[in-house]
């Protein structure tokens, strides 16, 4: 894939606007001059997606890092895009609350970057992804237009839901400067239980069996690694009485499969995978995880690691040609995105097929950023 590599992005001129107005001016200026802009938050995922076709300016949100309003009694927070995720969480915790999301590199990653890459982890099963948590947004378009959408109330259908459009758009439609989220209370108590099914088939059956109960688990993930048996981790939150009852029920559902407590470290699996070299995100139907695991095992040099959430979203570290894996997963209705490409293998397009909606996506890009100023080429279909 031709394009500009991350090393040269790091040498680019950097603009660090201090206000929304300055972001607007910087963008209008760059757009007028035909300078391509790469928005940057914490810089943890700057290499995700395809390398940009052009790059003239890194637009950093580092100085837009205030928590604007934590309306704790209303369970909402408005925060600037450059605020580090963990910093926000610490402020919310002071009132017993959290943004119910577990993204990668929380100490470095910013709100804007987490939103733009739609990065969610294991908690998504219970609390939804970013699209379910974001309720308002300020987006600065390439021509400098400052556009607010949504609001600061949880329920609001006035106008188009632009916060969802910009979530996961990798900065190709505008630069997010501020976001408002709905919040959840911190868990009263938690317990993590780990089940060890005999093999992949048993793991698939048990995962579906747990999903078909009325257990109210917060997370359920399937960990797998070359040469090791699969593990299923379950997270319960709630009152002591509730957790005790659910633990007993889980043991019944597990049948002869052993249930152990290995502690909360098991939830670091996704982060550990992301900290290795290559990183692939794939999404399959919950009942197809075993098939995907099998295909992953046949990819590359046999040194792989993967974690799938029970919702079918998986994170994989594997070195090898990824086209066969993508073909298999796409043929079964899923998708595979190469977030960080394995080194030493032929480059692969990052996103895979966007289907018959691609012309519509291009039309949206054309209306929002007609000169392709923002992150040109990094997104789906060359957007």
């Amino acid at each position: 894939m031709p394009g500009i590599e991350i090393e040269s992005l790091r040498e680019l001129r950097v603009a660090e606007p201090e206000s929304e107005q300055e972001v607007s001016e910087a963008l209008r200026c760059a757009d007028g001059e035909g300078v391509a802009v790469i928005p940057r938050g914490g810089g943890t995922k700057l290499d995700w997606g395809n390398p940009p076709r052009r790059a003239g300016l890194l637009l950093s949100t580092a100085r837009l890092n205030r928590i604007v309003e934590h309306a704790w009694a209303d369970l909402t927070v408005t925060v600037e895009a450059g605020c580090r995720f963990a910093e926000l969480q610490r402020a919310l915790a002071a009132h017993g609350q959290r943004l119910a999301l577990d993204p990668l590199w929380p100490e470095q990653a910013t709100i804007g970057g987490v939103l733009s890459t739609n990065d969610s982890g294991a908690w998504r099963l219970a609390y939804g992804g970013l699209r379910d948590l974001i309720i308002g947004m300020t987006l600065v378009l390439a021509d400098g237009t400052i556009a607010r959408s949504g609001g600061k109330v949880v329920k609001n259908v006035a106008g188009y839901d632009l916060p969802k459009l910009a979530t996961g758009a990798l900065g190709t439609l505008g630069v997010i400067t501020q976001a408002t989220f709905r919040l959840h209370p911190l868990a009263r108590n938690t317990r993590t239980l780990t089940l060890a099914p005999a093999d992949t088939a048993a793991a698939q059956a048990l995962l579906l069996r747990i999903q078909d109960t009325n257990l109210a688990h917060t997370a359920l993930q399937w960990r797998a690694e070359a040469g090791r048996p699969p593990m299923l981790d379950v997270l319960f939150e709630g009152t002591d009485a509730g957790i005790a009852a659910q633990t007993a029920r889980l043991a019944e559902v597990a049948g002869r499969v052993s249930v152990a407590e290995l502690g909360e470290a098991v939830w670091r699996a996704r982060q550990e995978i992301a900290d290795r070299g290559s990183l692939v995100k794939c999404s399959v139907l919950p009942a197809e995880i075993a098939d995907a695991m099998g295909a992953i095992g046949r990819t590359g040099d046999g040194n792989w690691r993967a974690v799938f959430q029970a919702n079918g979203i998986g994170w994989i570290s594997v070195d090898g040609p990824l086209e066969p894996l993508r073909s298999r997963i796409e043929a079964r209705g899923g998708s595979l995105c190469v977030l960080r490409r394995p080194r030493g293998h032929s480059p692969i397009e990052a996103w895979g097929g966007a289907g018959d909606a691609l012309p519509l996506m291009r039309a949206i890009k054309q209306r929002f950023d007609p000169k392709s100023t923002l992150n040109p080429g990094r997104f789906v279909g060359g957007i």
Partner: protein
């Protein structure tokens, strides 16, 4: 200008003579939706039975530049399904099949004319349900729910329609068929289901919808608490949320709304100034432990009567009065306007107090029911259109209530949509560049502005010619100006 005979023939060629309604007296049903104060006579109603027929009908409209609007069950409350004068109504009522049920993956694929409650009906035997539950759920269609991003009493915990729509087959305003999203999560590209849901029919017509279904919780309990007034009830709501609970629903009714419900469906509610319904669901041990706390909180905030509904029959009775709230107001007033404002939950006491004052000033009565957990108010402004000036005064009051919601940092609509009714309020909530940006999106879908064209926005932005493709500067091509 009325539709030509030739256009009507073309429609008939697609859907047959029985699929086209054009007799003026038969068209009257389609002049409005649940918001009957706004009406326009369509030129024709077309009833396709397949996606291909919808495409063919839309192509005819597109070629002749005739505006069209999709219609489900016509229960909308903001005029979303009101046609353009002499435009075409595309009714999806005949596309009402459930196409696929997939329990292992908890998905169901339906056509847009399927009724909301039928989805739950189809999966109930396996202990699943479809979570969004607007009060009209026994008659409203999934296609209409998608257009309006419908909520309901239980969206506090389970989310809105948008949370539950994974993929859509859509006929775009030029007649092309596209697939937005996938049966799997996080389809590559922009979140198009995320913007299509709630777009009020302005971006195209959904012809196939993939929904999530949800496993029924082990236990559901509903507590009913009677407070002296809505102030104490509101304080109890804040305390419940403050204690770190996320109930499945919290509903509140004021004295006038309770009277109306009693008159209509006799739910045997206690006579009080503020009635609270709190529903918890989940594992039984969890629900029992938390319900005990809810009970204590309500008592501490002055509740003098508390009933706990534990069986399905008891729960249905408790919910009966609330679900019938809109319709039952007809028992105490000849006419009424239902509003749908949202405020930050903590502003509830102040806002209710202001509504009371405004009601007294104008002499117009207001009955209040709320989704109290998420701050969604449904004030029902009561009037008699036979009394000179009352209708006007009622409309003025209901708009003042919405302005109050905006002032308090809220929204003009939580689940009913902007539609025709509230489009003139949009500039009070959003600035010009905000609305202009939304219209950029609409232009990407519908550059000729044919799909429900006059809704949501007070002024329609012309889409103009597409801006030209970006061509790189020659210096850039040469690599000279890449970095500056």
């Amino acid at each position: 200008m009325p539709l030509s005979a030739e256009i009507l023939h073309r429609f008939e060629a697609v859907v047959g003579a029985r699929g086209v309604i054009s007799a003026p007296d038969e068209l009257r049903t389609y002049e409005c939706d649940g918001l009957t104060a706004y009406r326009a006579a369509p030129g024709a109603v077309v009833l396709p039975t397949t996606s291909a027929e919808v495409q063919a009908v839309v192509r005819i409209c597109h070629a002749a530049r005739i505006p069209f609007v999709a219609r489900g069950s016509g229960t909308g409350l903001s005029g979303g399904a009101m046609p353009a004068a002499n435009g075409v109504v595309i009714s999806l009522a005949r596309m009402n099949r459930i196409l696929e049920v997939d329990f292992p993956n908890a998905r169901i694929v339906v056509e847009p004319g399927v009724i909301n409650l039928e989805v739950t009906g189809r999966v109930a035997a396996a202990n699943y349900f479809y979570a969004p539950d607007p009060s009209s759920q026994s008659v409203c269609s999934i296609g209409g729910n998608v257009a309006e991003n419908s909520g309901g009493a239980h969206c506090l915990k389970y989310g809105f329609t948008t949370t539950h729509v994974l993929a859509l087959e859509v006929v775009l305003p030029d007649g092309s068929l596209v697939h937005l999203g996938k049966k799997t999560l996080d389809a590559p590209g922009y979140d198009l289901p995320g913007i299509f849901v709630g777009s009020e029919g302005t971006l195209g017509i959904a012809t196939k919808i993939t929904l999530r279904i949800v496993k029924r919780p082990e236990c559901v309990q509903t507590l009913l608490a009677a407070f002296p007034s809505t102030t104490e009830a509101g304080a109890a709501v804040s305390a419940i949320i403050g204690a770190g609970m996320l109930p499945a629903a919290i509903e509140m009714m004021d004295r006038l709304a309770i009277h109306a419900a009693e008159a209509a469906v006799h739910p045997n509610y206690p006579e009080c100034g503020g009635l609270l319904l709190v529903e918890l669901d989940g594992p039984e041990a969890e629900v029992r432990a938390l319900m005990e706390q809810v009970n204590q909180i309500c008592r501490a905030h002055g509740a003098w009567e508390i009933r706990l509904a534990q069986t399905e029959t008891e729960r249905m009775l408790v919910w009966k009065g609330r679900k019938a709230a809109f319709a039952s107001v007809g028992r105490i007033s000849p006419n009424y306007i239902v509003q749908d404002g949202v405020i930050p939950r903590t502003r509830l006491p102040q806002v209710l107090h202001r509504i009371e004052e405004m009601s007294a000033e104008s002499g117009i009565r207001v009955a209040n029911v709320f989704h109290a957990g998420d701050g969604n108010l449904h004030p029902m402004v009561l009037y008699d259109h036979r009394v000179a000036g009352q209708e006007k005064a009622a409309i003025a009051l209901s708009e003042k209530i919405l302005e109050l919601c905006i002032e308090e940092g809220g929204s003009i609509t939580g689940e009913h949509g902007v539609g025709e009714e509230k489009k003139h309020m949009m500039p009070k909530m959003y600035a010009e560049p905000d609305l202009d940006t939304m219209q950029r999106l609409r232009c990407a879908f519908d550059p000729h502005l044919l799909s429900n064209p006059a809704k949501i926005f007070p002024r329609t932005r012309l889409c103009g010619d597409k801006p030209g493709e970006y061509t790189p500067h020659p210096l850039e091509v040469a690599g000279v100006a890449e970095r500056f």
